[in-house]
């Protein structure tokens, strides 16, 4: 057992916690008695690692989640026993290997992420750029594939990194693929929490209009000065945008006209080939399912 806080008061803490399981019960959300609060809280603690923060202390977890320290301690203790948290640097913890496997399993259910790698990598090399493929998770875009060239100035985004839907180039790329009404609905739903939105709204509207004519969106320093992005939606077999595909680089080298003239045609080619893959995938899945059922 590894203490998260200093060990002196641990016994007393332990005693008080042991008497408390009922409290968790009473905190269950009304109307859903099936909801397992202890599990939800444990996962909330694990999700504190989302900003690629390497290790977090028990006190920090408590501050980040708003949970009482003794609760955090018990949950962390359990997750350390199971290897989901690993002690590092004294009283700090980092995520353990089982989470890596879980993340990979999540990616394995998106086969296009692996399939797209070589094509995206070729783009990244050719244009000395950062090429990313991202899917929407609520108000965020989550990168499922990312290829970087060896250029100097690149956003440090890894697979699993998240950007805001309404204020990221790749989010704009996805949004551009929706019918206007549906897009407005998404915007209305998700911009409220996004403080950067008012500043970029005008540029967003321009780009959505321009998308109708040229088939891609540009983002010229709107979110990060000196950093430009071109992005397109990847349409799924259901006719809705399934992913955003973006290509970005330093404004000095990746000027608007460079993105338009050089990058756009290639990016659109990759997008079209990925859309075809998605369609093939959907067609391939139907018969296999039937087989499964028979077995």
């Amino acid at each position: 057992m590894r203490p998260i806080s200093t060990g002196g008061r641990r016994k007393r803490k332990a005693a008080s916690i042991a008497n408390r399981p009922r409290k968790t019960q009473s905190e269950l959300p009304q109307g859903d008695r099936q909801f397992v609060m202890a599990l939800a809280r444990g996962l909330e603690i694990l999700s504190c690692f989302r900003n690629a923060k390497m290790d977090i202390s028990g006190t920090e977890f408590a501050a980040m989640t708003g949970l009482p320290q003794p609760t955090v301690w018990r949950l962390c203790h359990t997750m350390m026993q199971l290897g989901y948290l690993i002690p590092s640097n004294g009283d700090r913890m980092r995520p353990g290997i089982p989470l890596l496997r879980l993340g990979r399993a999540a990616l394995a259910s998106i086969p296009i992420a692996a399939k797209a790698h070589d094509r995206m990598n070729a783009l990244a090399d050719k244009f000395r750029a950062a090429v990313g493929l991202a899917a929407r998770d609520g108000a965020r875009m989550v990168f499922v594939q990312q290829c970087l060239s060896e250029a100097q100035l690149l956003m440090n985004l890894k697979v699993g990194s998240r950007l805001r839907l309404a204020t990221s180039g790749v989010g704009w790329g996805l949004l551009a693929g929706f019918e206007k009404a549906e897009r407005e609905k998404l915007i209305a739903e998700f911009v409220a929490s996004d403080s950067r939105w008012p500043k970029v709204e005008a540029a967003f509207r321009n780009e959505m209009a321009a998308y109708a004519e040229r088939g891609y969106i540009l983002n010229i320093g709107a979110f990060h000065q000196g950093y430009n992005t071109i992005a397109v939606p990847i349409m799924g077999p259901d006719g809705k945008p399934a992913f955003g595909l973006s290509c970005a680089g330093a404004a000095v080298t990746h000027t608007a006209s460079f993105l338009r003239r050089e990058v756009a045609p290639e990016l659109l080619k990759v997008a079209a080939s990925l859309e075809k893959d998605l369609q093939d995938e959907a067609r391939g899945r139907a018969p296999r399912r039937k087989q499964d059922q028979r077995v």
Binding site: V36, A105, R289
Partner: protein, 296 residues
């Protein structure tokens, strides 16, 4: 040592491929019961939810509730309740046919941190734990020609250690690490490699019988035990880390001066813990991401 339970708890799935050659023991089944009984701080509902998540892997990206309850030996209603909670939180999604799979938010649970690490960095805290448990050193090595080269090595604060560090090499033919690598190979490839790396007859005459008998006990134990044969006064256990193609990718070892190791613990505790670590690392290499396997 309690900490290695955590490794055992997750070594259950996805290791079918090795079953034929190395019978790795795992305390998966009794892990939870033991934890729960001894440890009043242990939150069983959380542990069970995490065990459910742990069932998913690259080999099992999709599972039904029934499959999960069979894998874990938990009642279906319990599994259902926990899965429902995770679906509500977005970590699991179900398709039309009751198949569950982890969804994008699963990447939020530390994946971005872990995905940037090399296998050596991922193994380090576990190697450190083993080094301290045995009171010596533990390491991760890759084959490099006729030798095994350390890509990670951790030491306890013990005074008596072999003088090895990251980058050091030991011969395949006469080291526990090398023997573990050999043990992980299919028979024909093993014999071919032995032919290739065997040292001059004077040394080999002594070493070979040891290797042969150790390979036999590997069949039973899942790890190589070297009881001071290769280096008098120093004991080592080692195990191969098998990749997706069924061939060894790495070997892990840990060792200490005979004088500090309690008799019997190598076989009953440290060996099995080392196997658990090998299985955990296998879950990393089974989805070979070349960047992660970057071994300099």
């Amino acid at each position: 040592m309690k900490g290695m339970n955590k490794v055992a708890a997750h070594s259950g799935s996805g290791e079918d491929k090795r079953a034929s050659r190395s019978p790795r023991r795992s305390n998966t089944e009794n892990g939870e019961a033991a934890d729960g009984a001894k440890d009043r701080q242990f939150v069983t509902a959380l542990a069970r939810g995490l065990r459910i998540l742990g069932c998913f892997s690259s080999t099992h990206p999709e599972l039904s509730g029934t499959e999960i309850s069979t894998m874990l030996g938990l009642p279906q209603p319990t599994v259902w309740r926990l899965c429902r909670t995770m679906m509500k939180l977005g970590y699991l999604v179900a398709d039309g046919e009751d198949r569950l799979r982890p969804a994008l938010p699963a990447l939020r649970l530390g994946y971005t941190v872990l995905s940037g690490m090399t296998i050596g960095e991922l193994a380090r805290p576990h190697l450190q734990e083993l080094a301290e448990e045995i009171g010596g050193a533990a390491g991760l090595a890759v084959r490099d020609g006729a030798e095994m080269r350390f890509i990670e090595r951790c030491e306890s604060d013990s005074q008596l250690l072999m003088s090895l560090r990251v980058g050091s090499r030991v011969p395949i033919a006469t080291s526990a690490l090398g023997w573990a690598y050999l043990a992980g190979l299919p028979d024909d490839q093993r014999e071919a490699l032995i032919e290739e790396v065997k040292p001059e007859p004077k040394i080999w005459k002594k070493a070979e019988p040891q290797l042969r008998s150790t390979l036999k006990s590997f069949e039973r134990d899942g790890f190589i035990l070297n009881d001071g044969v290769l280096h008098p006064g120093y004991v080592t256990v080692a195990a191969p880390v098998i990749g997706n193609d069924g061939l060894p990718v790495f070997a892990v070892n840990c060792g200490a001066a005979i004088s500090v190791v309690k008799p019997g613990v190598l076989k009953t505790k440290i060996g099995p813990h080392l196997c658990d670590l090998a299985a955990l690392l296998e879950s990393v290499v089974s989805f070979a991401d070349p960047k992660m396997l970057d071994i300099r």
